[in-house]
């Protein structure tokens, strides 16, 4: 660990900061940031090109110097995406930088935080499996099963208890637990198949996603469908059994309490993975299964446990989706599980990284709605950005190469590069900027 803060910081603080001082973690953070910047740059080019192709009566943006007109304004897209997702804290075109009428408890920010909350659970689900060397693509299915278990449990129990805040707490707790059990059992299937039948978990989890979606659909269609409902959905769980949206508008489908639970899960998972013997088994199985076995770890059991835990987290995500966002199980389950994969990858599969990663994707989701309201640019752009971020995060070697190249070009590690970092506008500049950033760390490492 770093020698500078070694003696001065109190123990708990040091333990929290430790992972960030770790070089490999620092590199991951830098690579994730670089990937986001590069995706933004590529997205910028996509907006420009499609803005050139699309037809419109008046150009939304004219490129300086060349005088070329474009149907879409790429600067506006990003301003709306990031500013809009927070409810416009920055006043654009007004005197003054900040919007005086802005409060954090606005609808847009609520929607963003709602997505963030849900993605925390699915992101953790994928991250835990990943740490055990398992690629759980099945969080989506585990979420679907967990959500259905939650909805059915709460619907069955609610009539037995008197309506009120006390029974509300009980119903939310029991419902969330039911979601965890449902998701956990569904996650245990590919875990057991992997451990005892050597069936590739990537394939089985993909298959189980389809099975979960289809079986849950048929179950609700044939058995649990709300009477008179035009869509395939269960009845609504009672109001008092839902997370209530304090401070935020009810239509934002966001509850601070659920976010707090999510953050609590992050802390708990981080502790579990890094500071318990189960976490040790998990990590060693993930890094080197054979060595773990030799060291006395029961790899088969660890695999099943890891997948069960991962599935349970996905199931809790489903519970929160039912009890916070939707109020019922409905067939059109959003792709929260798949987004969880992207969150986990961006987070470097570190539970602590899941919070900022989930928040970023929450912003992208919330911002997509704003893009739909305020610009002509198709909201699917955000889906492209998501894919690009994942692609770039997957290729750390690219950034290392760029870093080395930038290091060479500027005549030494940690050399100039600040000017390049500022030139991060359209194309060309981005490689320089990320490269320089990575080069700067390499310089820093050389000094240490």
């Amino acid at each position: 660990m770093s020698r500078r803060d070694g003696g001065r910081l109190p123990g708990p603080v040091r333990r929290v900061l430790e992972p960030f001082v770790d070089r490999t973690v620092a590199e991951r953070v830098l690579i994730s940031l670089a990937a986001i910047l590069l995706s933004i740059a590529v997205g910028f080019v996509i907006v420009l090109v499609s803005g050139r192709i699309a037809e419109c009566s008046a150009a939304a943006w004219t490129m300086p110097v060349t005088g070329l007109g474009f149907c879409y304004d790429p600067f506006q897209v990003y301003a709306v995406l990031f500013n809009g997702a927070l409810g416009y804290p920055l006043a654009i075109g007004e005197p003054g930088v900040f919007n005086p009428g802005w409060t954090p408890f606005n609808l847009s920010f609520g929607l963003t935080l709602s997505e963030t909350t849900l993605l925390i659970f699915t992101g953790l689900s994928v991250a835990v499996a990943f740490r055990a060397g398992l690629f759980n693509i099945g969080t989506q299915g585990q979420l679907v099963v967990g959500a259905l278990a939650t909805a059915l449990t709460v619907l069955a129990l609610a009539p037995l208890l008197p309506a009120g805040p006390v029974s509300g707490v009980v119903l939310v707790a029991v419902g969330t637990f039911a979601g965890a059990v449902g998701g956990g059992l569904w996650g245990a299937i590919p875990g057991a198949l992997k451990a005892y039948a050597d069936a590739n978990e990537v394939i089985t989890t993909i298959m189980l996603n389809f099975v979960a979606a289809n079986v849950a659909y048929v179950l609700v269609l044939e058995v649990f469908r709300a009477e008179g409902s035009s869509v395939v959905a269960t009845r609504y769980v009672p109001e008092h059994a839902q997370f209530s949206s304090w401070l935020f508008p009810g239509s934002s489908d966001f509850a601070l309490l659920a976010l707090a639970v999510g953050v609590g899960f992050i802390g708990a998972l981080y502790y579990l993975v890094e500071h318990t013997s189960f976490g040790y088994d998990l990590r060693t199985s993930g890094v080197q299964a054979a060595a773990a076995e030799y060291g006395g770890v029961n790899a088969k059991l660890t695999t099943v446990r890891a997948m069960t835990l991962s599935g349970a987290l996905g199931g809790v995500g489903g519970a929160v989706w039912v009890l916070m966002s939707e109020g019922r199980w409905i067939a059109s389950v959003p792709d929260l599980g798949f987004d969880g994969i992207t969150v986990s990858i961006l987070a470097g599969n570190n539970p602590l990284g899941v919070l900022p990663a989930a928040f970023l994707f929450g912003i992208l989701k919330g911002g997509a709605l704003e893009i739909g309201f305020r610009t002509d640019v198709p909201t699917e752009l955000v889906g492209v950005l998501r894919g690009l971020i994942i692609l770039f995060v997957a290729m750390p070697e690219f950034f290392r190469m760029a870093g080395r190249y930038a290091g060479l070009r500027s005549g030494g590690p940690g050399g100039s590069g600040g000017s390049e970092a500022n030139a991060d506008d359209a194309d060309g500049g981005d490689d320089g900027a990320t490269g320089a950033a990575v080069a700067a760390t390499e310089g820093g490492e050389a000094d240490a």
Binding site: A197, D198, N200, N214, V215, V218, T342, P378, G383, A394
Partner: protein
């Protein structure tokens, strides 16, 4: 040192039916169809009679061919990529991008027109293959040059295509679904492409030097390097071929309908993932892949026809069958043998 690529002669019949998978698959499919046919003949008024009528009707054959094309072709592509050592989980994305590109280009030219004497729909077909191959090329560079995690990069390919195709469709046509071209490629073309591609893939993998290099690249890249063949070139070829074949599959799917549907999971609807299942099920044998792909597509086609005849089977349950079958098979047979070096990066030793 023994030459690791020494040519071991394989009797053609053994190679055709080179493992239990394919044999049991063939026996199973033929047996089921035979039993169904007999039942149908014996009791023409029963459900079995209806089923037999459906399974052996031209309409079902047509829709089976249409549904099987993307599964089998992408599956064949997946074999080439994975045999070379690159797991391509992005087949779904390649299907999506080619499906959109083919319809877009055909509509730009105008479905009644021709370019250099080639009817628009076939120009669109080529454009779809080019688009898919380009995306596969990006995937190859990312995986081979920049040593990306193949699974994550493959997911990225899927997500990018899943966003990009509806995005472009909205830019060009004002909605995630393109208008219908009003002209389409007949199902017989789809069937012919599937058969030709399967035969050609089998021949390439089992009877050519390139096929041998592919297998060595996935099993023992170091040996391949030792005999002086560039591993990364073989892997590029494998991944690009997966792009070409998926491109044929995606274009065939979209142009057999004459439209790209970009809502939800797009019109590809997980067929790329089913393709992965199909080649694993067929144990990396093109013939087994064909069998599995036709089986899955046939189930789907039969289910669609049953609905039309008024049998109240929830279609989603029938659609679940292939997935459950795959899980059961994986559980019973265990892991299909993935090429030893698949998923690993290879550093050339100077």
């Amino acid at each position: 040192m023994r030459n690791p690529l020494a040519d071991v002669p394989v009797p053609i019949l053994d190679a055709l039916i080179d493992d239990d998978y394919v044999r049991s698959l063939v026996v199973g499919v033929v047996g089921t169809l035979g039993a169904l046919g007999l039942l149908g003949v014996a009791f023409p008024d029963s459900i079995a009679g209806d089923l037999a009528g459906i399974v052996f009707s031209t309409g079902t054959a047509a829709s089976t061919a249409r549904l099987a094309a993307p599964i089998v072709l992408a599956g064949l592509g997946g074999i080439f990529a994975e045999k070379s050592g690159v797991i391509n989980i992005g087949l779904e994305g390649l299907l999506i991008i080619s499906a959109f590109a083919s319809v877009y280009i055909a509509s730009v030219i105008g479905s009644g027109n021709a370019l250099l004497g080639v009817p628009a729909i076939w120009v669109g077909f080529l454009a779809g293959i080019v688009a898919s191959t380009l995306l596969a090329g990006v995937f190859a560079v990312v995986c081979i040059e920049f040593k990306a995690d193949q699974i994550i990069a493959g997911l990225a390919v899927w997500l990018i295509a899943l966003g990009l195709a509806p995005f472009m469709s909205t830019v060009f046509f004002g909605g995630v679904n393109t208008p219908n071209l009003g002209a389409s490629v007949g199902w017989r073309y789809s069937a012919a492409m599937v058969v030709v591609a399967t035969a050609a893939s089998w021949w390439t993998l089992n009877r050519t030097a390139f096929g041998k290099h592919l297998r060595a690249s996935g099993e023992n890249p170091k040996a391949l390097d030792t005999v002086g063949v560039s591993v990364s070139r073989v892997r590029y070829a494998g991944v690009l071929l997966s792009g070409v074949l998926s491109g044929v599959g995606g274009s065939a799917l979209a142009l057999s309908i004459g439209q790209f549907v970009g809502s939800g999971e797009t019109m590809v609807q997980g067929k790329g993932f089913i393709a992965i299942v199909a080649y694993l099920f067929g144990n990396y044998n093109p013939l087994g892949t064909l069998g599995a792909g036709v089986l899955f597509a046939g189930l789907d086609a039969t289910q669609i026809r049953l609905q039309q005849l008024g049998y109240a089977i929830p279609d989603t349950l029938v659609q679940t069958i292939p997935y459950v079958v795959v899980i059961v098979v994986l559980a019973l047979v265990g892991r299909t043998r993935i090429p030893a070096a698949a998923g690993d990066h290879y550093e050339t030793e100077e």
